[in-house]
């Protein structure tokens, strides 16, 4: 006997990954991200171009003094480097800049003459993404495991100790941990040779999938990755702990126990998966923070990634590189945000529905 009651409720969703990907939630997320990237690009353009005492004027002045050029010649040279047309209006310059960007042209470096900024970025960015990505992955998994564990044993001695430790980890800036590790383990105890660990791999090695090269990459990345892990672990632990604590009080966990599910199944699929959900939104925030902090960490460990390259361009007053690198970092953060968002929505069916409505 079918009552009309059974037919109420939202329509069923089609299953299958394809429909999930093309669901309007994902499309909306992508559109929002594109909008954000456009805003970042615009912001960067006007920051560099229209500020009082903007670097282009400074550079033009520098060229006039240095190379005995007329203003026009100097402006022409500056324009080619910053890749804009000096005779066009600011708005046209802006459009041109957007067009160049779409084609992947970020101009040429001022100090390393003839080098495309895009090439510089391609050289340095992967190392940072590798370290930051690996560090966040490790700390995310580790923090979730530890946080869940202490939530299961909350208010025990273990919980109190770990929670305190996690608060301390999160409170101290990551570069301060980096300094501490350098001074205590590197210099005082001599566990590793800081001088040898500079750069992204040992000099003289040819990049490739050789054991020597991979081992070298791992050794050089170890300290930055360790610091990224330490810098974010505390917040994962504390957030997972509070999230797990509230999930443990949910009816469905109790019901799952009454259903006679194995403790392992309950811990992973019922408690873990639900408790982890809010952490994915935090993942987006943390990616931004860690990539931002990588400038100091890479400078500290002399790791040649995008952060240390940004600092290098700034100290060299290489404005085109600086602008390009900043843009790329900002876009990386936006992209990482989307990925975290999409990951979140693929784990929580409720989000997909919200997007549908």
């Amino acid at each position: 006997m079918q009552t009309s009651k059974t037919l109420t409720g939202p329509p069923p969703l089609e299953s299958g990954w394809l429909s999930r990907v093309v669901s309007s939630y994902a499309v909306r997320t992508l559109l929002q991200a594109l909008l954000t990237i456009w805003a970042v690009v615009t912001f960067t353009f006007f920051l560099i171009r229209l500020m009082p005492g903007n670097p282009i004027d400074v550079y033009v002045g520098f060229l006039m003094n240095q190379s005995n050029l007329t203003y026009g010649e100097a402006l022409q040279q500056a324009a080619s480097q910053f890749s804009f047309d000096p005779n066009a209006s600011v708005f046209q310059q802006y459009l041109g800049y957007l067009g160049d960007l779409v084609r992947g042209d970020l101009g040429t470096s001022i100090t390393s003459t003839g080098t495309q900024v895009v090439d510089q970025i391609a050289r340095f960015l992967p190392w940072t993404l590798f370290c930051v990505g690996l560090g966040l992955l490790i700390s995310f998994v580790l923090g979730m495991t530890i946080g869940m564990l202490i939530a299961y044993y909350r208010n025990s001695v273990l919980d109190t100790a770990v929670s305190f430790f996690a608060s301390v980890l999160g409170a101290v800036p990551d570069y301060i941990w980096g300094l501490l590790i350098l001074v205590v383990f590197g210099v005082q105890l001599g566990w590793f040779n800081i001088g040898e660990l500079r750069g992204t791999y040992d000099p003289g090695l040819t990049p490739g999938f050789t054991p020597a090269f991979i081992w070298s990459v791992v050794r050089h990345a170890f300290l930055p990755v360790l610091v990224y892990v330490i810098g974010t672990l505390g917040s994962w632990i504390l957030n997972m702990r509070s999230s797990t604590t509230s999930v443990l009080g949910e009816d469905y966990v109790n019901v799952a126990r009454a259903r006679g599910l194995t403790p392992g199944r309950i811990a992973t699929t019922y408690v873990g998966r639900n408790a982890a959900l809010p952490l994915f939104t935090l993942l987006a925030v943390n990616i931004g923070l860690v990539i931002g902090g990588s400038v100091i960490i890479e400078e500290l460990f002399v790791y040649k990634g995008i952060g240390s390259f940004l600092f290098f361009s700034i100290s060299q007053r290489d404005y085109t590189s600086m602008q390009g690198v900043f843009l790329v970092i900002a876009v990386s953060v936006v992209v990482a945000n989307i990925l975290a968002d999409l990951l979140y929505s693929s784990l929580d069916p409720r989000v997909r529905i919200e997007g549908e409505r």
């Binding site: 805003a39 800036p173 301060i176 501490l180 210099v187 931004g288 400038v295 100091i296």
Partner: protein, 381 residues
């Protein structure tokens, strides 16, 4: 208030944080009156011909006694810049910034040898036993003398590369940082509370605009943007630095305030106030803000720690040329003057590291305790 302290005493971490903050308040507030800033450079003084290239040499026997200078060992550390009289040797930063070769315990003989070979024009000798040591007796440079003003009073935390007392720098180096961070925290909290409340109460396009702005700033990589800004402006002014940091930190709190106000707005007493037609300002100031006080204070504290992070990071990289000698500047010099890589000058780096770390920990512990006190749900958990 009494209730606050009683509750604080129950939360051990909160109590630790509170004690820590009192300690820091005393340290930066009263400390400088008792421990004046030690700016007397006590490196060796050199009497040498104009333009001489000076190299640092420590006698093997005395090397251990000059830990803070070991990193300069064997380097050309400076040039004599004025003729006649005693000339201060200021280490040249470039010379030892990027060097990996740190020799220790070279003898006077090494120095003399190089002197004779003409590699250098003189060397600065560090010796415990001799206050003044004539360089190269019988050498070509009889007029070159070096004196070592041995550090007279005991130094609890040792001395830096220029022989200055580190403890005095710790005592004096916190005030600017903390004031700037507080200022930045206040600025960002003010913006966050105003924008959040306005967005929630006015709603509509105002809400959408403010929320979009917050979301935009939230995805901007804050620290890289700060150093780009630091390259465009000169961040040598506390207020400017605090404002820039404050302008970049508010969005997270703003969104939280907005959500809080939205939920508070639905509560009975606010409804009642609205029914009584008490006006929007009254509702915000009298009804909503008091209910969010503890929440706002906790976030203010966290904003201060975030500002500390940015500020010290900028100084550490040398991007914020703040004139005051602070813990951040100590780290900067620790790095640029090689102390970071020298086993004997750990104190120069570790002292500010510990000072910063404990301050941040105290702040966070205190904030967490406040959070627990104000949230009855957490109190029982």
């Amino acid at each position: 208030m009494r209730q606050f302290f009683r509750a604080l005493a129950r939360s051990k971490a909160g109590l630790l944080g509170f004690i820590g903050l009192i300690f820091y308040a005393l340290l930066v507030g009263v400390g400088p009156m008792f421990v004046p800033f030690d700016n007397e450079v006590k490196t060796d003084q050199v009497n040498a011909p104009l333009g001489s290239r000076l190299k640092l040499v420590t006698r093997a026997a005395d090397a251990a006694r000059y830990p803070s200078l070991a990193s300069l060992e064997g380097q050309v550390v400076g040039y004599v810049s004025s003729s006649g009289g005693e000339t201060l040797v200021e280490p040249l930063e470039d010379t030892f910034d990027d060097t990996e070769d740190y020799r220790r315990g070279a003898g006077v003989e090494d120095g003399l040898e190089e002197l004779t070979d003409g590699d250098i024009d003189g060397f600065v000798l560090f010796s415990e036993s001799l206050k003044t040591y004539p360089i190269g007796p019988g050498s070509d440079f009889p007029d070159l003398t070096v004196s070592n003003a041995r550090l007279a009073p005991p130094h609890l935390l040792g001395t830096d590369t220029q022989g200055r007392d580190i403890l005095s720098h710790i005592v004096n180096g916190g005030r600017t940082l903390i004031v700037t961070a507080l200022l930045a925290g206040l600025i960002s909290t003010t913006i966050a509370v105003i924008f959040g409340a306005v967005a929630a109460l006015v709603g509509g396009p105002v809400d959408r605009t403010l929320s979009a702005l917050a979301n935009f700033i939230l995805v901007l990589p804050k620290f890289p943007l700060l150093i780009v800004l630091a390259a465009l402006f000169t961040l040598d002014n506390i207020l400017l630095l605090a404002t820039l940091i404050g302008l970049l930190v508010w969005p997270a709190l703003m969104r939280a305030v907005r959500a809080q106000v939205l939920s508070l707005r639905e509560r009975d007493y606010v409804e009642a106030a609205r029914a009584l037609d008490l006006g929007r300002r009254h509702i915000i100031i009298r009804e909503i803000l008091p209910n969010m006080m503890s929440f706002v204070v906790v976030n203010l504290i966290l904003a201060v720690t975030a500002a500390m992070y940015d500020q010290i990071g900028l100084i550490f990289l040398g991007m914020a040329p703040i004139n005051d000698y602070s813990w951040g500047v100590m780290l900067y010099f620790g790095r640029t003057r090689g102390a970071l890589f020298s086993p004997d000058s750990a104190s120069m780096v570790l002292a500010p590291v510990v000072a910063i770390a404990l301050f941040q920990v105290s702040m966070v512990m205190f904030a967490r305790a406040l959070e627990e006190l104000s949230d009855p749900r957490l109190r029982t958990a």
